[in-house]
Structures are given as C-alpha cells and as structure tokens.
Symmetry: C2
Subunit: 658 residues, 2 copies
C-alpha cells in the first residue's frame, strides 16, 4: 500500500545536504503540505508513495534552496547608484542622503519584491535581512512566498523610520508580536553595529530579542578601522565588547566578522552565534578577507551572504559561493581548504543554522519544510560531467554553474517558480516601478550635484555666515616689530589672543565658481604644544567684492560647516578638479579699537614661503558700516607702523596662485 | 547622398571603448565586410549610411567583444575532472596522466569547439590559447568563426603531440607558415614556462617568433615557489631570467605574473609585453593575487583571462572581470582602484593590446574589425538603471550583469550568435560527444584508482622488486655488544657499511590491502653529518608470507619507485585513510657469510621508542633457496650471541601497531 502525498518529484539527481551528504543519482522527494515526507532512491520512493502531482525532474539536480544569510533587500532599488567609492563616501555621501529622502514603506515593499524576484530566479529560498520599515519588508516577503528572518534596524541616530532609538525599539516590539509564529517570517531585531549604537541600545536590543526568543542581527568587525577604534575607545576588540553588552543573551547573526581573532571565534561558538560571510561586499568595499577556513576549523556555523545589492551589486548566491571558496583558498595559499562540498554546505544547511533556521530548512530531510530547487546542468558551461568523484557534483555547482541554471523553486511546499516563470511576482510591473524610482533618485542627485553647496548641505548641513567682512592685508618685513606694536599700543584693548598653525586645502572646480576650503586649525598653547585641533569646511562663493579706499576689501559670501570627515573623504566626495594647499603660523588678536572690534592676524606663511603678512578684519552688516570700518582699518594699520599704501587686495589663495 | 553599408546596427547604447571612452546613449554602428565603417549617434549615422540589413538593437548595450587573454581551450573536455587539489597533485596526478592517454587531434578539435560555443554565448570574440595540436585548435576556431591567437606548446618533456622539443619546434614552424595572414587566426609559439623549458628552448622559441613576427605566449611567475626556485637556481627572478634568454625579441604574452616586482613590471613595459591576469585560476589554485593595480600604474597592458576550464572551471569573462576588480580592491584595501571602466577596458581594448591584436580589435572604431556584442540589461538582476554617472553603465556591466545577458555576437563582420542561437556550431552534437569523452576518461580513472599500484604507476612508474626476501628480527638489549660482535666476527666478511636515519610514513587504505611507505633515508657520514638524502616509495602488497623454522619470514611482494614529490603531495594524491610514522637510526652492513650475501641492520627505534632490534635479511629467488637461507640466518644470529629462539615474526609496522 503506497501512501498518498501532495507532490512527488522524480528522476532527479538529489543532493540532500544532510549530515552525511547523502546523494541519490536517480532520486526522488515526496512532499505533503509544507513539509518533506521522504527522500531516497526513486525506485524506493515511488514504491512507497503516490503523488497527487508528480514532476519528472528530467535528471536535473534537486537540492535544498540556497540560504542568503545577510542582506538589505530593499536596497535593490539603489543598485548601481554609486560604485568604486570608499565606504564612508559611498554610505554618507550617497546611500544615507538618498535613503533620508526616499525610503518609505512603499519604497521598501517595492525594493523587497524586486529582490525576491532575483532571489527566486537564483534559487535563494531563505535569507536574513536588516533594514528600515522591516514590517513592510516582511509583508512583501510573505506575499512573494519566500522565507525570511526580517531584522528591524536600530540606530543611535534618527533613521528613515524612527526619530529615536526608543521609537525603533517600540516599533520592533510590535513587529515581533504581530509576526512571531508566521510560517515564513521570523521577525528579528537588528542593532546596526557597535559604532552606530550605544551600550544602552545594544543591551535593550538583546533583552528584547531574548524576551521573544528571536534572532539579533548585527554587523560586527567589518573593517580594520572599526576594530582599531573599538580597541582605542574600549580597550578590547569587537566581540568581547558586544559580549559585555550581553548581546549573546540573544541568538546572534554576526555579519562580516572580517577582523576577528581565534579567541573571538571561540566566543561566537560558545554562544551559538552564526557568522554571515559576505565575500563580494567585503572585496568591493575593500574591507578585507574574513578568516573563513579558520572559523570552520573552530566549528562555527558560517553562512554566505550577498550583503545589500547596493554594495555587491547583485543577489547571486552562485557567485557568492564561488567567491567564498576562491577567497578561502587564495588567502590561505591552500587550494584544498573549503572544498566545493563545504561551500555548498555553507550555502544550505550550515547557512540555515547560522541564521537559526537549522531545524526548519537547509537540507532535504523528512520533517523539514519543503524548500527546494532544481538546477539544470545541461547548459554547456556545465559540460561535460565526470562521475568518478562523488564530490564532483558539488564542484560542478560551485565552479561552473550559474544562477541562471536554476529552473524551479519551491518554498514551504509551494512552487514560486516553474520552468523559469515566477508564480508569485509580476516582474514586468516591478521593473517599471523600479525604473520610475531610479528616475526620481537620479533627478534628486543630479540636482544636488549641480552645486558644491548642495553637495555640502547633503552631508554636513552648512550655515551661511555673515555676508560682509572688511579686510586688509599688508606684507610685513619685520613681524616681531609689528607684534611688539600690537602688544604695546595704548589705543588697542586686547580682548583675546590665540596662536594657531593653519593647514588649508582649497578645492577648485571646473564647473563651479565656488571654492571649498578644508582648514585644520592647530591651537598652540604657551608651551608651544598643540592643545586642540579644529576642522572646518568653508565654501567660498564667487567674488562679490567691493574695493574701498586704500585697497580695503569687502569680502565674499561664505558658508561654514564643521568638517566631520577626513580630507580624503571630501576629496573623493567632491572630486575637485585641482587643489591648492597653504600652511601658515598665525598669531591672532581680537581687539577693540575706537570702540569697534577687529581681528588682527600676524601670519608667517610656511608653505609656500611667501613671507609674513598683517591682516586686519572686521565683520560688518551694512554698506555704510563697512565704509566706516574700512577707514578705521587703515588707521589701525598706520598705528602699527605699517604703511597703509602697501595694502594689497588679494587673499592668500590669489597671492599663491599668481 | 547616403552611403550603403552591409549592416546598420541602430537603437543601441553604444560603448565604443575608444581612447576617450566615448558613449552614445542612442547610438548606431555601420559595418561593411569585416570592418566597422562608422560609429556615432544614431541620428547622424542613419543620415549618412543606409544598411542592406538594419538591426534595431532594442536599446541593448552594443560594445566590443570581450578578449580572453589566456586559456587552454581544449581542456574544456577536462572541466570538473578533479578539483580542490594542490597544483602539483592536480597537474601531475590528474591532468597530465589523462592528457597522455586522451589528447589527440580529435580531442583537441572537440574541446575547442565546446569552448568556442561557451565563448560566443558569453560574448568572447577573441582569445589567446596555449595547448597541444594547436593547428587543430586553429582549425576548429576558424570554423567557429572566432578570433584566436593560437600558441603551440613547447616543452622539455615529451608531450602528447611531440616526442621532443625539436619536433614541437618543427611542427610550430609549419603551423606558422601555413596560418600566418589568416583573417581570424594568429599562429603563435608557446614555450610553456621557464621551469618546463631549457634555456635553449626559450631562445629557439623566441627566435622563431621573431623570425615570423608572431606572439610568444608563456606562463611567467605564476607561483611563489617558481620564483623561489628561479632565484635559488639562477640568482635572479623570473622576468630577468627570461630576458636573458632573449624572449623579449618576440612579442610576449606573459600569463599570470602573480609574483613580479615593480622592476620586472618596467622590464615588461619596456619590451611591450602584454600581461594576462587570471584571477579565478590564481585563486582556485591558491597561487596568489597579481599586483594588477600596480601594473596598471606602471602602464602595462593588462588583459583578463579565464585560464583553462580545468582550473577555473568556466570560460565566463563577466565573472572574470568582476573578480579581477574585486581582487584589486580587496588586496590593496582601496575600493577606488581599478574602477569598473578600467575593468571593461582590460577586458576589451587593453586586452586586445595585451595579446598584440590592438590594431585589429578591442574597440568600436572605424577601420577596426567588426567584433561586437549586444548585452541585454533588461533582466532584473541589472535593474534599476541610474543615468547620473556616465560610468554607471560600466559599473552595471561589471558588478551586476551576467554572461547570459549577451544575446548577439558578431566577429569579423559575421554573426556567430543571434538572439542566443549559435550560428556556427551545433551545441547538442558537441555536448553529446563531450559526454562520451567524459565517460571514457571516467572509466580510465576509475580503473586506475581501483588500485594504489595503478595510481602509483600513473605518476611515477614503479618497478616490481624481487618477490622474496628472507627476514629475521630480534629485540636486543645491548646493541653495542652486537655491533662489536659483527665487527669482530671472523666468519663475516663486511662488504659495505652504511649509517642512516630513516623516517618512514606508512599510508593505510580502507579499500586496499596495500600499504604505501614513504621513506626518507638520511645518509650519515663519519662526522655524524647528513651527507645525502634519498626518498623512496614502496608499495607493500598483501601479506603473502610463509613462516620458516625459527620464525624466519619470507617477506611480502613489493614495488619500489623513487619519490620525486613531497610527502604532502602523496598524502593528497593517495588520500590514505590513516598514517603511521616510524623513525629509526640504522647501522647497516652488507656481509658475506658462508659465501652468501646478507644485510644486517642494527636499528635503534627513535619514534616510537621501542628499543633496539637486529635484523638479518637476504634476497631470494626460489623457495628452495629461501629455505637454505633461513637456516643460515638463524646460524648468523647465534654467531652474534643473540638467541634465535627470540626471533619475532613481525615487521616494524606490526610491532608499532600492536
């Protein structure tokens, strides 16, 4: 008496990916409801089971669906937006400004569906995500019929979906309550990373995850800089630090782990954390090569992830498997490490365990959910086929096959692709909607990039300073005498004295009249040591100067912003056509002269070596006031025994460029 | 008046890959005969030219065909034969034995055609090859309508197509004479590598290439070991060495260059050599990461190659581009190096220059041959598309597109694929024939791997030693007394004395009764120093012993071979189930006793520490002789004041394993 099942898959080369890597060259799988009922040689299975529906797999490979252990699926809408950039420029200069402007529940649903279409086409049946509006992600994933661990991002900054982290936590609690127990969706919490969260956020996230027994998904030790900063600030590397914040009270999915040592691996293992290895992203962003061979030796569950499609730029697990394999061999110098079978394991059973779905999916075994794919090895890039080595099949899949060889995909017992036709998503509609978003994002960025000011505002905010400044400059032969005159003059009341070393870099643009100055001010104390450093950006507008008697200038309009990034960052972000650098030693007095405040700078120009200059400046608000002050400036200069006739009407940049 | 051309390609996003990277968003290309006549905006081209045939490209990307700068195309028939092995095991254990058995003109033609089908499907229109029977490769390439630089291999060993290098050179001369000037084929010479050629071969190859002005294709500095050996043997790295052999008299295609320094890069540049970078192969075989960013900075023409499909395992230039890009970023820690546009350049114009076809192909410019492809960016893994950055198109191709997005391919003005249908090759036939080869190769290897002996013969040759040896072993408490007795006995004539330290590793197999012993014999001179080392493999057959009176053994049949590789090599090649190691200090006398030759060993067992033993052995050829000798052995042992009653019938392995 044979048992009736819903679907019988016959005539397949079955890779079960069970603990002993059982294969059936002529195999069959029986499915009922959402579960696998039996797996075995075709002749046994067909004797024991009768299918309401039977599918002859035509000799294709039948294997568990692939598990993509780390991604940000809605970012599919940002694929190809900006490439070949350093992480900070890419993230702060492009991704975050665009996300602030565009990310909404609608954006997230569309991006997710586009990603689900690509997942299904490439044989991915389960994944772990981290993004904003994750409940909308979950909704779209469930509609597409894909299995997802959906992690809601928690940040210490305001994010597109939460003005504060408390709001984000509250949202996450509701999300978990509503979705826990869903057949496809596992809600999760995703504190973004140690450097974007506080201790309090990490602890609260872990507590929430533990309360509901849901996974905690986090970026850990992605770059060497992150580890360096962690050691400098907290005296320990990343894994001990997050352990101290009790994150291992939760089931952790640790994304990246590029820069961890063997001790940290043992900590991860001890607490059952899964590791998400993202080879393409780590290479494309030049983060480094994760020590995967060592992690596997330690016994960690290491899965493979695509990371977000904005840093990859695809969602292709076949490529990701191959790259994970190649990097392990290339970085250890040993071509025998992470062989093909282990690679497929990482992308299926071990990957499922890494995202805490090991009981549910990742292998073809009775009782597990029916998440499976058919891979057609008849296309010529897979030919020929050798049968000698039983591991040859894995090698064929890892080294030769392509995601486009996947023809059929079943998740939770339901077909989501048959013969390369998507059954749960309308691809043409998604593509059209995605292109409309791309058009709007393009327009936004093109508008922004039209002016250096708007690019500056996009990343730093910028405040427009007072528009007018009266300014005079004179070359001086004997600066010591001038200094003595300033310090001894009875007509001057010295309000404050400062000593700086100033390092200025001017960015020039071919398509803008603006000049952007990056200034590093080193404050020199009485012992001649640097007591503090300040970084500022100044956007200097087109010359709108007026010359007063005695060459005294009314200076340009300018915008000021604190420089929170490195010079290198701004160089790559603004892409100046050329640069000029000026270094000087500045003595600066704020003084009262005839009841009016002036700044007196005595500058010794170090690079280029163009001598010493006296500068007298005063802020002004009206044309009439400026005229009065320009006369006072000439008077003040005379007072210091410098000839006001020698006032020059150039700023340092012009002097240097002449 | 518009000019008539053969084919007008309209409505295409044209990437010309000319020197200034001109793009035409709505572009067109005019082709007549085998050449490009015009490239430009569609509205200009359609005004100036009328096509006998016009193809609306439907907005697809129209770009130069990809150039695969280093491969061994017939090895497509060996794809997936053996993976996850070290280079020596892979090459000497699998590739070369199979090549010796199977490579023929027929094999080469079939493998080439299979590769050409994959090339065309993936948009490859030109390539540089190195293999045997290269005239048959050329014939198959020409029939497929692909452009190839076909390099005939020259080796210092006998090869499948030439018993000696002189034969190979003679064959190459004829091949060059017959094919020079062919519109698609450039015949070339390919001395395999410095370590597989002699000085004389390199010099003769360079002279022949220079005589006919054809390229010289060679593997250079692929592994660190190659460089180390070169420095040890010749006191210089690889590039200076080959320069000394005058190879730069020829137009060189230098494959790999993984381990070269900046000085060597300048040498390559000075002589106009092209570099073939093979990222997949270098990673899969763990050779290392070539310093591509530095090479580009130096100004070398660096192309991208797939290497042979037996070490890759595909012929997919889209993957190869992406990997070249990722490795450059990952290895330098700088995500801005080798941006997408440069990557496409390496795969087209620069690649063509690297294989000395720069005048002919690699870009869409009037006068160049019409080698072009259409890439469909409508599949969802390419969506959406951003237009802000003109380099975005290159990024889309490098980071997101797949070889399966190529729909149409034209080479030399002739369509070889239209709408994914191959026009010059019968794919189904090729696949069937390839599978038949795979079946035969499988059978050959399965037969070979049935026995450890045949695996041994496949790589080393092995000689069957005398089948019988009479042998007796006794534990001794006072080895110094036994040594004194040997040296002083009047009955013994000492013919030779040797002192060794012996390191034995025994490989045990679960599926064989054979045991393979790897022995390292250190010869110790009178000063106690190692004067020489010998490595031997001994295959010890199933026990076929007979016990004589006094426990004297007739030993097992055995096969001997010199061990030319490392213990590590044999371990990976033979894959023993387990190993045993034994170390001992051996004093060995060859003596005459009553007119018969015996070996007396006095062994002090170091690891494991199991004491000292006296062994007496003699070779024998007949059962009768063995009986006589076994009596003499007992007599000799008594002579040395050792009790023959204590003779044990075990060899060291058995003693240790007990």
């Amino acid at each position: 008496m044979s048992q009736t099942v819903d679907i019988l898959l016959t005539n397949a080369a079955v890779l079960t990916m069970d603990e002993t890597y059982t294969q059936y060259e002529q195999g069959a799988v029986a499915v009922s409801g959402n579960r696998i009922v039996a797996v075995g040689p075709e002749k046994d299975i067909t004797r024991q089971y009768e299918g309401k529906e039977t599918l002859d797999c035509g000799g294709k490979v039948l294997m568990p669906g692939l598990v993509n252990v780390h991604t940000h699926v809605p970012m599919t809408l940002l694929r190809g937006l900006a490439d070949d950039l350093r992480l900070d420029v890419w993230l702060l200069g492009y991704m975050m400004p665009v996300e602030r402007e565009f990310v909404s529940p609608e954006f997230v649903r569309l991006g997710t569906k586009l990603a689900m279409a690509e997942f299904i086409r490439g044989g991915i049946t389960a994944f772990a995500d981290m993004y904003y509006f994750e409940e909308d992600v979950a909704q779209a994933v469930a509609e597409a019929g894909v299995r997802g661990v959906c992690g809601q991002t928690i940040l210490k900054f305001p994010s597109p979906d939460a003005p504060s982290y408390e709001d984000a936590l509250e949202y996450t609690r509701g999300f978990i309550e509503r979705w826990k127990g869903h057949p496809l969706i596992v809600p999760a919490i995703a504190p973004h990373a140690p450097y974007t969260c506080t201790d309090e956020i990490l602890q609260a996230s872990a507590a929430l995850a533990a309360e509901f027994d849901v996974p905690l998904h986090i970026h850990l030790a992605e770059t060497a800089l992150e580890v360096e900063n962690m050691v400098n600030e907290h005296g320990m590397p990343v894994i001990p630090y997050v352990k101290k914040q009790h994150i291992f009270d939760a089931k952790v999915i640790a994304a990246h782990c590029v820069h961890i040592d063997e001790g940290e691996m043992h900590t991860l293992k001890q607490f059952g954390a899964g590791v998400a290895h993202n080879p393409s992203s780590n290479m494309k962003l030049a983060s480094g090569i994760a020590p995967v061979a060592k992690m596997l030796e330690v016994g960690l569950n290491v899965g493979i992830g695509t990371d977000g499609p904005a840093s990859n730029n695809d969602l292709d697990m076949f490529e990701e498997m191959r790259l994970a394999n190649f990097l392990a061999k290339g970085s250890t110098g040993d071509p025998t490490v992470v062989p093909a079978r282990t690679t497929i394991d990482m992308a299926t059973r071990m990957g499922a365990r890494a995202i805490h779905l090991g009981e549910v999916t990742g292998s073809l075994e009775p009782g597990k959910r029916a998440d499976l794919i058919l891979v057609d090895l008849s296309p010529l890039h897979n030919a020929p086929r050798f049968a000698r080595d039983p591991d040859g099949r894995y090698a064929q899949l890892v080294y030769a096959s392509k995601s486009t060889d996947v023809t059929d995909v079943m998740i939770e017992g339901r077909w989501v692709m048959r013969e390369r036709q998507l059954l749960t998503l309308n691809e043409a509609e998604l593509l059209a909607e995605a292109q409309e978003y791309a058009r709007r994002i393009d327009a936004f960025l093109i508008q922004r990039e039209k002016s250096v000011l708007s690019k500056l505002v996009a990343i730093e905010g910028a405040t427009q300073e007072e528009s007018f400044e009266v300014q005079a400059k004179v070359a001086v032969q004997d600066p010591a005498a001038v200094q003595a005159a300033i310090q001894s003059s009875a007509a001057l009341e010295i309000l404050r004295f400062r000593h700086y070393r100033e390092f200025d870099t001017y960015f020039h643009f071919s398509d803008s009249h603006h000049i952007l100055r990056y200034r590093e001010d080193e404050f020199i104390d009485e012992k001649g040591e640097v007591s503090n450093v300040r970084y500022r950006l100044t956007l200097i507008g087109p010359a709108s100067r007026k010359q007063f008697p005695s060459n005294i200038l009314l200076s340009r309009s300018r915008y000021l912003a604190p420089a929170t990034h490195s010079l290198r960052f701004y160089r790559e972000y603004f892409k100046p056509e050329r640069e000029t650098t000026i270094e000087k030693d500045r003595l600066r007095w704020r003084v009262l002269f005839k009841g009016t405040e002036f700044y007196i700078n005595l500058d010794e120009m170090h690079a280029p070596h163009i001598g010493s200059y006296l500068e007298v400046k005063s802020r002004t608000w009206s044309r009439r006031d400026a005229e009065v002050k320009s006369e006072l400036v000439a008077e003040l200069i005379s007072l210091l025994n410098v000839d006001p006739e020698k006032i020059i009407n150039q700023d340092y940049l012009e002097i240097v460029e002449d």
